[in-house]
């Protein structure tokens, strides 16, 4: 099953499970989304439950707030994460706040799906990785899967969650990764990172599409005799501090890999965790391998920006030998 198929399968299961689940956004209905993530669902569940919305992102998220307040479970799509900004006011001012504002009387329990990330040779606004912005908003949860299995389990958990969840889809690996995934319903818990590989020399933390490049770097590290413990975050907020801290305590070294800008990013947060939770165990300065604090270049310049497996390996090696 590809990641696209896994997401489609999760949506199918929840639409079938719960009549209050509705799915909408730009082109998600008849066409099944520009990436075909929602393909076939309108035909199966009808136009009242899976539909195309007028082209207005604030409208999509704002109406979802109303539906959620009235007890429905909207799962909405931002066609690209770079187009989500008109909906920021709704996300920050209402989606994230309705529960607190009404002291639990109403919630904005919904899932906002959006493909994110670069490396697909796209036009401007189609390549950024802005998870840190969402992670900084109190009241939201943010998840990013890196495998079809996790994509399905996390999305099912997101739809079942009573909290609003920003579900970011690594579009670069929509079809690049295939995995055996059960057709049955299962959950991957929000808030729990996955220790993908045990190791003793360096902890490497990554998530989303960068997991693939990171694993290529790990193959190089293995050849060089460096034992890496690899953690896939899966949930950006709330971060699984315990799993990360335990691993740093064990290895004494930490490298974070992300395609987002460096400053104020997820890697910065993990560096703070290393300081707060494992300071006396550190054998080397915590490192971040990321994009730059720049706009993602158009396709001809994108290779400069995206962290390559070689660059990731280089940082792992330096950290291991520090």
């Amino acid at each position: 099953m590809t990641l696209v198929k896994a997401i489609n399968n999760a949506l199918d299961i929840k639409l079938n499970d719960n009549k209050d689940v509705v799915l909408y956004g730009e082109d998600v209905g008849y066409e099944g989304g520009v990436f075909r993530v929602t393909q076939g669902l309108q035909q199966k569940y009808g136009v009242e439950r899976v539909f195309d919305s007028p082209l207005a992102e604030s409208g999509i998220v704002g109406t979802a707030v109303g539906m959620a307040v009235a007890g429905m479970k909207p799962v909405v799509e931002m066609q690209f994460s770079g187009f989500a900004y008109p909906a920021f006011n709704q996300m920050i001012s209402h989606v994230a706040r309705m529960r607190n504002r009404s002291r639990g009387r109403y919630t904005s329990s919904m899932v906002i799906r959006m493909p994110y990330g670069g490396g697909i040779k796209a036009l401007e606004h189609h390549s950024e990785s802005m998870e840190a912005i969402y992670a900084h908003i109190p009241g939201l949860k943010v998840v990013i899967p890196s495998t079809p299995h996790d994509a399905k389990g996390l999305l099912i958990s997101a739809i079942e969650s009573e909290d609003p969840v920003i579900y970011m889809e690594p579009k670069r690996i929509y079809r690049a990764v295939k995995q055996e995934v059960s057709e049955d319903k299962f959950n991957v818990e929000i808030g729990k990172a996955n220790v993908v590989q045990q190791g003793k020399d360096v902890t490497v933390v990554s998530y989303g599409a960068m997991m693939r490049d990171t694993q290529k770097a790990l193959a190089m590290a293995k050849k060089a005799g460096i034992s890496v413990e690899l953690i896939d975050l899966r949930t950006i907020y709330p971060l699984d501090v315990e799993t990360i801290a335990q691993s740093i305590k064990k290895t004494g070294r930490i490298v974070t890999v992300a395609e987002a800008p460096t400053s104020f990013g997820i890697g910065s947060e993990i560096t703070a965790i290393a300081n707060d939770e494992a300071f006396l165990h550190l054998e080397a300065p915590p490192k971040r391998v990321t994009g730059f604090d720049t706009i993602v270049p158009l396709p001809q310049g994108e290779h400069h920006y995206m962290p390559s497996p070689e660059k990731i390996y280089h940082e792992i090696e330096k950290t291991a030998k520090f």
């Binding site: 604030s58 109406t63 979802a64 109303g66 307040v69 007890g71 709704q90 009404s102």
Partner: protein, 361 residues
């Protein structure tokens, strides 16, 4: 009615003149004398509470508050049509509607004293808390309208925005979505002439605000919002259209904010005494009182007695709110998520530890 008062004709709908005489018999709503009197008394209560809240603010006993003074007939008329399961999705200047929905004055006070607890609305159904970001709440109403239609419920969603809010993108998105989805939402513009200091004449080049609905395909009307009977009739027609035809409606209610934008604002800086006087003559309470006294349903002595009674009631609820007690630290954290994540627990415990240390100093 929506044809006769098509907003493209730029014709204001009213029923009663400034002295309380009925000038438009054709559209006088079906309403008993008892009900009219009751409505007047509810509007009196809202005005009393509003004026007293402003003075509590001046005494430093409550924080910033947006007065409703002068706009009472909008809520007064709509309340005649409002049913228990109908939704009210307010902005922040809808005191009459909150009370009509069953929110208590004590809750309103709590909110403006700085307790989120005031937005729980223990005795009210389908009432949303204050929404501060301008026009953003209109989309919520449209979304609720989708739910009402989806579950085939017999409910109408009422939502509110000021004249300034009609310039916001969310206003236009909400009208468009509501018209495309054909949902039972009544959008009410409280056109009180000012967005803080900015006059509505400079807010738009449209001939009126109701006309903005035309492009989106909604029925709409511009109504004298200081005319209780006109508001009541429009509420009846709008609710019928929403309920029976599953159609959204836009109402532009023309009124005047006699008070300040909020207690932090001073309107004398941007508007003239002449203008205030002109609107004083169209005051909604004065007009409805004119009608009631003309029919000998009400007199000054009764008004004075009720005013005293309301004063005591407002004082009682204000005192209850004032004695509400401390805001526990845990309340900062516990409503962020359905379950408190470890990260938040950690931050809370760390702060508690600090407080303990401070106590020991």
């Amino acid at each position: 009615m929506f044809k006769e008062y098509d907003p493209l004709k730029n014709k204001l709908f009213n029923v009663m003149d400034k002295d309380g005489h009925i000038v438009n018999d054709k559209w006088m709503p079906q309403i008993s004398d008892d009900q009219t009197l009751k409505a007047y008394q509810q509007m009196m209560f809202a005005r009393k509470a509003d004026l007293m809240t402003v003075s509590y603010q001046r005494q430093g006993r409550i924080y910033t508050y947006p007065p409703n003074y002068g706009q009472e007939a909008i809520a007064g008329g709509l309340a005649q049509e409002l049913r228990e399961n109908d939704w009210v999705v307010p902005a922040y200047r809808e005191l009459g509607l909150w009370l009509a929905k069953g929110a208590t004055l004590k809750e309103v006070f709590l909110y403006f004293m700085g307790y989120e607890d005031g937005s729980r609305f223990e005795n009210a159904t389908h009432l949303l808390p204050v929404s501060v970001p301008i026009a953003s709440q209109l989309l919520h109403a449209t979304g609720i309208g989708y739910e009402v239609k989806y579950h085939k419920k017999d409910e109408v969603v009422y939502t509110f925005v000021g004249d300034g809010g009609t310039s916001e993108g969310d206003f236009h998105e909400a009208l468009n979505y509501a018209a495309v989805w054909k949902v039972p939402v009544v959008f009410v513009i409280q056109n009180n002439q000012y967005a803080i200091s900015f006059n509505v004449k400079n807010q738009t080049s449209s001939q009126n605000l109701a006309v903005k609905s035309v492009a989106y395909g909604l029925k709409s009307i511009q109504v004298d919002g200081n005319d209780f009977f006109a508001m009541t009739r429009v509420a009846q027609e709008a609710a019928k259209t929403a309920r029976e035809n599953q159609e959204p409606v836009l109402i532009e209610a023309l009124t005047y904010r006699k008070g300040a934008h909020t207690t932090s604002d001073d309107p004398s800086k941007y508007r003239s005494k002449e203008e205030e006087q002109e609107w004083e003559e169209k005051d909604p309470m004065k007009r409805l009182k004119g009608y009631l006294t003309g029919k000998q349903l009400w007199n000054d002595q009764q008004e004075e007695e009720l005013d005293q009674q309301y004063k005591k009631e407002v004082e009682r609820q204000f005192e209850e709110a004032e004695n509400y007690g401390d805001y526990p630290l845990e309340d900062v954290f516990k409503y962020q998520y359905s379950e408190m994540p470890d990260i938040l627990k950690k931050q809370m415990y760390a702060h508690q530890k600090f407080l303990k240390w401070k106590e020991g100093q």
